[in-house]
């Protein structure tokens, strides 16, 4: 595995980064504040200072997947806005967005949480009731996605009743997942990180990366981001500048 700088890897300018630099950098921001302080456990005590980080840290991996979800929630909001304004909605854009949520978020990202993150927290007796709520929300989200996918057709979007049902499901989905992912980023992942030694963190990173490659091939994350950009372009929300309010 090639050592990479996670901030440059998608641009093809990978360079080695000392593990300690990355782990300690993260530890002084989120983990130490939210996780380490909460649980009284050092985030990276076992990290060797002279080793090289070969993968993006497991929790950062999960958080950047949340970035994908956030962009897809913006797509859902735009589709909902168009439905409310009785404007045309490209069926392909909606079905592609829902398809990405189904395959990448629900089939992959949430499976990582269900298989590795949540059981570890449960095992440690940490945030157990929150874990149950998050799992329940995964189940509800998957049901909503299945309904959205079933309706995201040209014929479905042409019927007023179906458009109303799609808009309602999109609103419910966005409303649930915004606090869901925010809670995971700020509370669950730091707590999870604080439970792992540096060695375990490195192993999890390798495992998460391997699972992603098995499901989506090499550079799977970059492919997903490219697909999200394509959907945004179709809906006219790709230009970041358009979200900047006018200044004085």
């Amino acid at each position: 595995v090639t050592p990479v700088d996670p901030h440059n890897s998608l641009l093809g300018t990978a360079r080695p980064v000392p593990r300690r630099q990355l782990l300690l950098g993260a530890a002084t921001t989120t983990a130490a504040v939210a996780g380490g302080a909460l649980l009284g456990a050092p985030a990276s005590a076992a990290a060797a200072p002279d080793t090289i980080l070969t993968e993006i840290p497991a929790t950062e991996n999960l958080m950047r997947e949340h970035g994908v979800l956030k962009r897809l929630l913006l797509v859902y909001e735009e589709v909902g806005r168009r439905i409310s304004a009785r404007q045309p909605v490209p069926a392909g854009a909606l079905s592609s967005a829902a398809g990405l949520i189904h395959d990448y978020i629900e089939g992959f990202h949430e499976a990582l949480e269900e298989g590795y993150v949540f059981p570890r927290l449960r095992q440690a007796g940490v945030l157990v009731s929150t874990v149950d709520t998050l799992l329940t929300q995964h189940a509800r989200g998957r049901q909503l996605t299945q309904a959205i996918l079933a309706s995201a057709t040209r014929a479905g979007l042409a019927r007023a009743s179906t458009r109303a049902s799609i808009a309602s499901n999109l609103t419910l989905f966005v409303r649930m997942y915004e606090p869901h992912e925010a809670r995971e980023d700020t509370v669950m992942f730091p707590a999870y990180r604080s439970l792992l030694s540096g060695t375990e963190l490195a192993e999890m990173a390798e495992l998460f990366s391997s699972e992603q490659s098995a499901r989506f091939g090499k550079n799977g994350f970059a492919k997903v981001v490219t697909e999200v950009s394509r959907i945004e372009t179709t809906l006219g929300i790709a230009d970041l500048n358009q979200f900047t309010p006018p200044g004085h």
Binding site: H102, E106, G107, F108, E110, A111, L112, E114, G115, Y116, F118, P119, R120, R122, Q123, D132, L135, T136, H138, A139, R140, R142, Q143, L144, Q146, A147, N169, E200, E203, M204, E206, L207, S210, E211, A214, R215
Partner: protein, 159 residues
């Protein structure tokens, strides 16, 4: 993936499955049989469950032959396991003759089968008698609860 990470990941995943299995009644000591029971669910009727009432699912791609849900699929759908050489036991309403086991491709404990279908729990069913995975399309196919007759119940879940 290094063998070290594979071992560790497998340990964690199996730990997760054991944790869920334990909560779902699939946990067992070396000589304790896994018990399959039934529960009555609104809209679905009588369905197979673990001994603690957690609903069990079948997965059509298994083709009534062997376990195909592995790796991350098994993270969302932990299989119901049985100690090797300890046959699973039928609880009330369950036919002992339909119970069996299949080798788990991930290694470790055998997977309990019913009329040849490997049985799985759903990670998101946090309470007994929940069937939030019913008729869900995930991990390459739909998931269905099973009647004690051995027939899948394909009633769709509407959001």
């Amino acid at each position: 993936l290094s063998s070290r990470a594979r071992r560790s990941g497998l340990t964690v995943l199996l730990g997760a499955a054991a944790l869920l299995g334990g909560a779902c009644g699939g946990g067992h000591g070396a000589d304790k049989a896994t018990v399959v029971g039934t529960a009555q669910l609104g809209g679905l009727g009588s369905v197979l469950t673990t001994s603690t009432g957690h609903v069990l699912y079948m997965f059509p791609p298994d083709a009534q032959r062997h376990v195909t849900c592995v790796r991350l699929c098994a993270a969302s759908w932990p299989p119901l396991t049985a100690a090797n050489h300890v046959p699973p036991k039928a609880g009330s309403g369950v036919q002992q003759s339909l119970l069996g086991t299949d080798r788990n491709p991930a290694g470790g404990l055998s997977v309990v089968t019913y009329d040849g279908w490997p049985l799985y729990t759903y990670a998101d069913d946090v309470k007994p008698r929940q069937a939030s995975g019913q008729a869900l399309d995930l991990d390459g196919g739909y998931w269905y609860v099973m009647a004690p007759s051995g027939q899948p119940i394909t009633v769709g879940a509407s959001p």
